[in-house]
């Protein structure tokens, strides 16, 4: 056992602390090349990660950078810096700690490269940028440890892939580098360990005591939830009661728009004027900082929030977590619940508030999964090649490189361990020449091979552009919202460009919990004024809509197989029984399709349980097939569990619709022209460095006509269909927005067992779908028809009609 130095023992004793077993274990195993710690929030995880560093640095002999700490949030880096200062100052340790994020002033960043601190706290993007400089080897000289915090969150995104590629670079500069990962509870620790370690090195996993099981229940309300929608307005009074009974309540929502509406309603019902705040990613940074500060000082009784509060900043005295809307994913639910009661060994308390009748079933399934410690997660597949392309460009910024050496380095990254040399070379070729079938740029290659075989940037000035575009986070185009004042009023946050374009002066919407009136657009900023109304239009935020996980969908289907549901509230229980009488309930090993006339139209409801994104894609593919089969579909709407299609002809036979080969052809041919695919392409093209979102020229004038990425996509699809980026786009379409992987999974699961029920009228389970928003008209001819109608209407209105 590695003994704790006396200085540290005394300090621990003075605070009345003793080492947790997992903290001691981290110290004992400080020479492991990679080590993953899984501990619940509040388990002293950060100290466990830093203890070996502090002990090693205590004698003041180490020169230069010793430990690099990486977290997904800038705020977390600042928070950790504050927390580390306490032991370092109190023990008078000779340790310099600094953070480095996008907010760090340029002068300090420059100094940090020449004279780095002992401990540097940073984000994946800032680290990637650091490795892009020619002097990277000098900056990182002597680096011994890297601590990756909240690695479970990073491992789910391309940010994690970028980080691990950067670590492979660091490992070459500092061969003795030790890697430590800190993670919340996850379903598959081994998968994260294999991402963290230098492949094929081993990575042991330390499991801290998870503490007692959380105390979770569904919130009981006198009123039944509505049939559809996500607002949960019916539960406002009950939630208000809970806020009164607790010190601090965190109220999580799945989307920013829902959070805004809920906060607005809560505020209208807040008769006692309790201090309640709102926090989400579209709010202005200062506004968020104010809420965070008030929260840390314990001044707020409740915070309405979204995933922006998912990660581990310590908020102190939260004693209740409320999740509004079905959690969609059991793992995220468990991690959110962990935000309550940060005292180790005290159970966290949480309440689930289903927003509609179907979510009652979903919440119950999630509760049962949480009790059973049955967490979900989808494996992410091999390392994405768009991130690799960016990594190659970053490597080129740092100076000439040898392709074989870089390949050898890249495959030490867990996610890229199986990358073939051929695939690597295709990415390198894309970075160098664009990788087009028509070789037009031999003279102007981005990367050139020198006579000695090394690759380098042809034009060294290109490195500035590449550095400006480092990162894998895709912000959709948003516009800042400000109060209208003579000199630019208070910033409130941002809204999507598409939403801003849909506003006319006088329209009202919610942002940051207040209703504002749209005044106009100035210099790419949305100017608003205060408004006293009670019924706003709602801002469309870019927050992701999560699809219900495969595992949770399976639990719901398993629950449907029960004879009765005594654990469900009566309203929902009766609803399911009625469905069983009139039609049947969907089953796991077959696919239920209901076909019925309603309101003068024919309808088909497909219960695929494949999650929102896949059901949406299924709607696109099936309506296309139905058009080919002469069923004249008019439109569809999708939820996490079903797609409802309406049209002119009844669906009598379903077999031809579900031919996997035909659906797959649909994906390859006409779906490639769809907007969702274009968005997928845009993300990959900007990560891979084909589209640069940031340029030194300012876009202020709005005169600068920027070309849409859709044009590049269409051109590639037409002239170069086998291009690397289209291949990457097809691969990305298996998950994410298109999620074709889950359609394949569903078709494989049900096989030939397609159960088409022809019914006289709409069924209880299908009825809520009629209330869903987000209907998609069948595109193509329909869009031209709408355009014709609208332009004619405008001509008429202007008195210009022929």
């Amino acid at each position: 056992m590695a003994p704790l130095p006396d200085l540290f023992k005394t300090w621990f004793a003075k605070r009345g602390w003793s080492l947790h077993p997992h903290q001691q274990a981290m110290l004992d195993r400080s020479t492991d090349s990679a080590l993953l710690l899984i501990a619940p929030t509040g388990g002293g995880k950060t100290l466990a990660g830093f203890l070996p560093t502090l002990v090693d640095l205590a004698d003041g002999k180490h020169q230069g950078l010793h430990t690099l700490y990486i977290s997904p949030l800038k705020a977390l880096a600042a928070d950790i810096k504050r927390n580390l200062r306490t032991p370092v100052d109190e023990m008078r340790l000779p340790i310099r700690i600094e953070d480095r994020t996008g907010d760090t002033p340029a002068s300090r960043k420059k100094r940090q490269r020449a004279d780095p601190p002992h401990i540097l706290l940073t984000t994946p993007e800032s680290l990637a940028l650091l490795t892009s400089y020619e002097d990277a080897a000098r900056t990182f000289e002597g680096l011994k440890r890297v601590v990756v915090d909240e690695i479970h969150a990073l491992s789910e995104s391309k940010r994690g892939d970028q980080l691990m590629l950067a670590l492979s670079r660091l490992q070459s500069i500092c061969p003795g580098l030790k890697r430590v990962g800190l993670s919340a509870t996850v379903e598959d620790p081994a998968a994260i360990a294999s991402l963290l370690a230098r492949h094929p090195d081993p990575c042991d996993i330390l499991l801290a005591d998870p503490g007692p099981d959380p105390d979770i229940a569904m919130l009981e309300t006198p009123q039944a939830p509505p049939w559809a929608g996500g607002g949960a307005a019916y539960a406002i009074a009950a939630v208000m009661d809970q806020i009164r009974q607790h010190n601090t309540t965190l109220i999580f929502h799945n989307t920013r728009a829902q959070a805004e509406i809920f906060f607005h309603n809560l505020w209208l019902a807040n008769d006692d004027a309790l201090p309640i705040g709102i926090h989400h990613g579209s709010l202005d940074r200062q506004q968020r900082a104010r809420v965070e500060g008030a929260m840390q000082r314990g001044e707020l009784r409740a915070i309405v929030c979204t995933g922006s509060l998912d990660l581990g900043i310590d908020w102190g005295d939260v004693d209740l977590v409320i999740q509004v809307g079905a959690p969609k994913n059991v793992k995220r639910l468990v991690q959110r619940i962990g935000r309550a009661n940060h005292r180790y060994n005290a159970p966290s308390k949480a309440l689930l508030v289903p927003a509609n009748r179907f979510e009652v079933v979903e919440c119950l399934a999630a509760l049962q999964a949480a009790f059973a410690h049955d967490l979900d997660g989808d494996s992410r597949g091999p390392g994405p090649r768009d991130v690799l392309c960016q990594h190659i460009l970053i490597r080129a910024c740092a100076g000439p490189f040898d392709a074989s050496e870089l390949y050898t380095e890249v495959i030490t990254t867990g996610a890229y361990a199986k990358l073939s040399r051929e695939d690597f070379d295709a990415c390198l070729n894309f970075c160098a020449t664009g990788g087009y079938a028509l070789r037009a740029y031999d003279q102007w290659q981005r990367l050139l091979q020198r006579p000695d075989g090394q690759w380098q940037l042809r034009d060294p000035r290109a490195s500035q552009l590449i550095r400006m575009n480092i990162g894998t986070i895709q912000d959709s185009d948003t516009l800042k919202v400000r109060m209208k004042r003579a000199r630019g009023g208070k910033p409130l946050g941002e809204v999507e460009e598409g939403f801003a374009a849909s506003l006319s002066p006088g329209d009202t919407f919610l942002i940051g919990g207040q209703i504002v009136r749209f005044e106009g657009l100035r210099d790419m900023t949305v100017e608003v004024s205060r408004h006293k109304g009670r019924k706003p239009k709602v801002a469309v935020f870019s927050g992701t809509k999560f699809a219900t996980s495969t595992q949770l969908s399976q639990r719901i289907l398993a629950m449907f197989a029960q004879d009765d549901w005594p654990e469900l509230p009566d309203h929902t229980r009766n609803w399911l029984h009625l469905q069983r009488q009139m039609s049947e309930l969907p089953r796991a090993n077959s696919l239920l399709i209901e076909s019925f006339p309603h309101d003068g139209r024919e309808h088909a409801c497909i219960y695929g349980f494949a999650g929102r994104n896949a059901q949406q894609t299924l709607g696109l593919l099936l309506t296309k097939r139905m058009e080919e089969l002469g069923l004249a579909p008019l439109g569809f709407v999708a939820t996490d569990y079903a797609t409802l299609i309406w049209g002119l002809e009844p669906l009598i036979s379903a077999g031809p619709l579900f031919d996997i080969k035909a659906l797959r052809d649909g994906l390859d041919t006409w779906l490639m022209g769809n907007a969702v695919m274009k968005r997928t392409f845009r993300a990959s093209a900007s990560i891979a460095g084909l589209i640069q979102r940031n340029t030194p020229r300012s876009r202020k004038s709005g005169r600068q006509a920027t070309m849409s990425s859709d044009i590049i996509y269409d051109t590639l699809a037409k002239y170069d269909p086998d291009h690397l980026l289209l291949d990457i786009t097809r691969q990305e379409a298996m998950r994410g927005l298109v999620d074709f992987g889950r359609i394949e999974e569903m078709i494989a699961r049900v096989g030939p067992r397609i159960n088409l029920q022809r019914l006289p009228r709409v069924t209880p389970l299908a009825a809520p779908l009629f209330l869903e928003v987000g209907r998609t008209p069948v595109a193509g001819a329909a869009q031209e028809r709408l355009l014709a109608e609208e332009t004619e209407r405008l001509m008429q209105a202007a008195g210009l009609a022929n």
Binding site: Y436, D459, M707, T715, Y719, L794, M795
Partner: protein, 220 residues
Amino acid sequence: MNGYNFTLNGTDLTALGSGALYWPAQNLLCVSDLHFGKSERRARRGQPPLPPYETRDTLSRLEADIAKTDARMIVCLGDSFDDSAAVGALLDDEKLWIASLQAGRRWIWIEGNHDPGPVNLGGAHLTELCLQPLTFRHIARMGEKGEISGHYHPKVSLRLKGCHLSRPAFLIDKTRVILPAYGTYTGGVRSTDSCLQALMGPGAMAVLTGPVPRPAPMPR
């Protein structure tokens, strides 16, 4: 012909869905802002190498319009090339393609801000072209009458039952027409932009390009 017919300075003209303008009386086809060689110029300047197919894509659309109208005179209204060096950088088969389109036709390159010098391809190179009662020039001038210009790449956005549609568009009023950009790799400036608002008189129309050109009052 599939187009929107209108009158400028007493002359009958047709706005085609492709973004080209046809003058039947002169059998003249006018296109603006082709921006040939845009991808080459960007790559030359160290920017990301875009798919190098825009010149052939633009040419194939131009070829189709020429075939459809059988125009004997072609006016390229400036910014035909992304810069002067891009002319030289055209691939041989692209140069041949242009030459074959020029054969048997009067071809005029009007100079634009991107391509001010003469080009070493066939055809005449002019600052502007007066064919009474119309004048063809790259950038519109205040106070002119019967003027056909390009330069601004105008586009129009409309809200259609919940979804947005943005299309390149002709802007037409009593004194002038501003053509949309014809080149494949071109973005656009919204008709609500202040410079377009200042140029276009009251009652100006927008004709949205597409399978069928659609007229609408110019969004203000």
